[in-house]
Symmetry: D2
Subunit: 308 residues, 4 copies
Amino acid sequence: MTFPAPLTGVVPPVCTPLTPDREVDVPSLLRLAGHLVEAGVHGLFLLGSTSEAAYLTDRQRRQVVEAVVGHVGGQLPVLAGAIDMTTPRVLDHVRAVTAAGAEAVVVTAPFYARTHPSEIVHHYRRTAAASPVPVIAYDIPVSVHTKLPGDLLLGLAADGVLAGVKDSSGDLGAFREIVTGARAHAGFSVLTGSELLVDAALAVGADGAVPGLANVDPHGYVRLYRLCRARDWEGARAEQERLCALFGMVRAGDPARMGAGSSALGAFKAALHLRGVIDCPVTAEPQVPLSGDEVAKVGKHLAAAGLL
Amino acid sequence: MTFPAPLTGVVPPVCTPLTPDREVDVPSLLRLAGHLVEAGVHGLFLLGSTSEAAYLTDRQRRQVVEAVVGHVGGQLPVLAGAIDMTTPRVLDHVRAVTAAGAEAVVVTAPFYARTHPSEIVHHYRRTAAASPVPVIAYDIPVSVHTKLPGDLLLGLAADGVLAGVKDSSGDLGAFREIVTGARAHAGFSVLTGSELLVDAALAVGADGAVPGLANVDPHGYVRLYRLCRARDWEGARAEQERLCALFGMVRAGDPARMGAGSSALGAFKAALHLRGVIDCPVTAEPQVPLSGDEVAKVGKHLAAAGLL
Amino acid sequence: MTFPAPLTGVVPPVCTPLTPDREVDVPSLLRLAGHLVEAGVHGLFLLGSTSEAAYLTDRQRRQVVEAVVGHVGGQLPVLAGAIDMTTPRVLDHVRAVTAAGAEAVVVTAPFYARTHPSEIVHHYRRTAAASPVPVIAYDIPVSVHTKLPGDLLLGLAADGVLAGVKDSSGDLGAFREIVTGARAHAGFSVLTGSELLVDAALAVGADGAVPGLANVDPHGYVRLYRLCRARDWEGARAEQERLCALFGMVRAGDPARMGAGSSALGAFKAALHLRGVIDCPVTAEPQVPLSGDEVAKVGKHLAAAGLL
Amino acid sequence: MTFPAPLTGVVPPVCTPLTPDREVDVPSLLRLAGHLVEAGVHGLFLLGSTSEAAYLTDRQRRQVVEAVVGHVGGQLPVLAGAIDMTTPRVLDHVRAVTAAGAEAVVVTAPFYARTHPSEIVHHYRRTAAASPVPVIAYDIPVSVHTKLPGDLLLGLAADGVLAGVKDSSGDLGAFREIVTGARAHAGFSVLTGSELLVDAALAVGADGAVPGLANVDPHGYVRLYRLCRARDWEGARAEQERLCALFGMVRAGDPARMGAGSSALGAFKAALHLRGVIDCPVTAEPQVPLSGDEVAKVGKHLAAAGLL
């Protein structure tokens, strides 16, 4: 299967179910992948932030890609994150995930290391030169503490270095400038990582969306994508607002007790557990687990959205 | 050899010399380690930020620890960084570097993942529980984007979880509060990561220093440490000011062309190369190399400090 | 005239033309106000960031409000910023601008002072209690270094403390949550401060827009507003994209020589000068003026947009 | 009286006592000024951050300067902050405070406005050109969100634009580079704003200190200054550590309920009230007042330091 250029549609960043002792729960992972494919999503993004890639060991990362590619490979494009601090370490991940079957890799700017735009450019050029599959830039300033500049991305698109960008910056104005600029570069895919703005991103011309919440309600995001493609903007807005309300689950965790990541990833996994998709809602260490009351809040969100 | 409690003295974060094709240059590394030991340093810290740990693959990290421990192990304590995003990945590094002979591990708070103080506490507790050697916290907000709170560190010191802290925050006021608080916890080591404030840090009661510039002038830092221990504060200030002037080399690189990391690490390696300690001044990718003119600036700093 | 609840439509943050010696150029200011009113805008916002309020003395601020209210008062709502560090100083500005005729005041969270959400709430309650006119919150993290939390704003909307919010945060996801939540509070106005996302903001349910670029092309933004209200989203997108291209003028200034503010405000004033609306393009001190070449770039943007 | 060049010694940033209805409590202010002068401080800094300058109206600011200059003018240098967002507004404050008798003005970089180093330079040049008295730069990144670069300060020192710098950045490494560089510029005063590092700052060569806590214990800071000048570093360290413990009072306020500013300024004023220096511990709006329990914590700090 040739990797689509551009990649379009709903591409969920797939949660990584864990067992109670925090190993990859492969049967649950395959059930989740199947649940997403049956809902009609257009691709799967493994080892992203929502997948807890930052928490998975190299062994676990490989296990995730091998399992999912073995299960649904060929049915839809499977992307994998190669999330690490700098070029040499990223290249090791690129080798590992492509050996395991990933059809595209998703790569952030360097982090931990203090970085400069010229170093980001070199990072992507070296990564693309070494990668057997297309490279998609991952713009996630909340984690990387650098925003990928639009002109840098478009320059790398023009040179054929990058095949697309997944934008989790939350800055739709900058996103729009990339969308517009990318029209000159056929095949370059501009994807939003927002759960809340899929209709708006598609309206300004995005190719697709990578919403973490699509783990919980893939049918909703597929429906939303179709409404947008049909230019039924009123219908899309109604569906998007339903999903925005559902997204409120990410605030289930008490901010005095845990970080926003623990709360959001804990909520997604609790929801998948409540919906019967995965066996165990545990998140990786050192994240703080949701309490029983907090899980009950997640349940209320599901019920309100008609998902329980 | 029992690991000292507290660890004291000058503990350089050892640069990692690379070959032109960016493999670990073991002979140069051993020459550098020998150069440091002969100068009288009190420990070696491998795989820190100055060691380009963020840029080294797992294979290269292991190679560094094995080579140095094999060469100087038993003569002085050898610490190693276990730098990664979260607990499970850090634990893999702890296993690898201690298997390779590291006598203590140096661990940051989680990064990339958004984190909460309670998660940092859990991270250190889990790491210490799994580590066969003492765990030293590494406070480096410029990379991790979180400052380790003093009360959190002192709480973990009180519980015996942490054996010390390496403070690269630049905040000497907060550092002093840790030094003072740590007096209640015998054996806990408080180390400054500053090149510019070793005299001041020791004057407020620090146990030692981990200055990157000590790669270039280990004799200077050892002399400075001895002057401070002898309470010759005027002599210490003069030596420290000489080292501050030498440290100006970190600004050799043009900030329009490269980041502060490329400039500083490039300058240290250029200086080691000019001094004949290492064979090749190359830094890891995607860092930008210093130009000939920039290397010449480094040379002027060495000459002014009487090191050429 | 009763202040509209909610305020809707295009409400430009009016530039403050200056004479060469940096006094308020009242004839140019009135010409600009007239130019905006004739284009059909729905309100005028004086003394905002685009108005260089941060650079105007108290005397000049008063002069601006008196002049504009005297010229166009009664034809459309006139709002004024009361931009200062904390409550007591803001209250002085509220008194001054309402004495000069402002029909609503626009107020940020405290800045310079380190602040806490409970202090922000108290700040708005005290301001609203003392203000004879409605208070609109101004969310501009790039200046204030605090993002107004959505639940804080909605709580103050529910209590009748705030009459609306002008959102210059760039975070359309958070904006959408405010828009949705504000439906429960009739009369509360949710306005975007973005130049680039007016169509998207109106599509998600915003009441209006406060785009600085509307000084330069008020007809464009009025047209865009009408297209959105008519639910002609394809026409709106085309008009918005034309305005996005025009907005490229804010990058006319060389970032090596000046800040983003000098560049953007310098470009707006250069454009108004080139279009013959104001007599002199000078900006307040200590901003850096655009060079001749940089002004020529602004001219090219105007020409490309059919505005010269 | 000629303004000293360089200004040296302990120069407390004087708290501004308020009445219960938040007007300046002039009798308490004069009592506080007298209390400081009698303790032997070397200057008074009015209208700084510790003075709640950000919260005082223009009328109140004038009142503070007039009252203190009228009371102690001629006995020691009196400096005043001219804290505002940009050059034109700062110039108005310079006029007001010097008309009221201030012998030097203390000025930050622009804030609220996004600023560039070249704009900061122009800001100080314009301010100094217009000021009838010496201008001292105020480096307080926690409020201004910009760190004044050392080379910028030293360039302005070389040109005679600035008479000194008050450094509240907390970065003693950068401070040391300014101290060292300033030796070439006779008369330029380098002052630390830290409460915790006065001994360390003087040891590296600072001219003096501007510690907020000196309102509460001026005798302690004067003693500390004299010990340092006598090069009794062990005695200085003991006195400094006593003051560091006393400084713990700034954490009296519950961080869940108030910001760090409310807690610190509330603690200083509570301490002055408990010590009988001022009549009322109230802070300006919108700060959160300390509770009775929190005031009791302040009292315990005073008692432990032998000040009650």
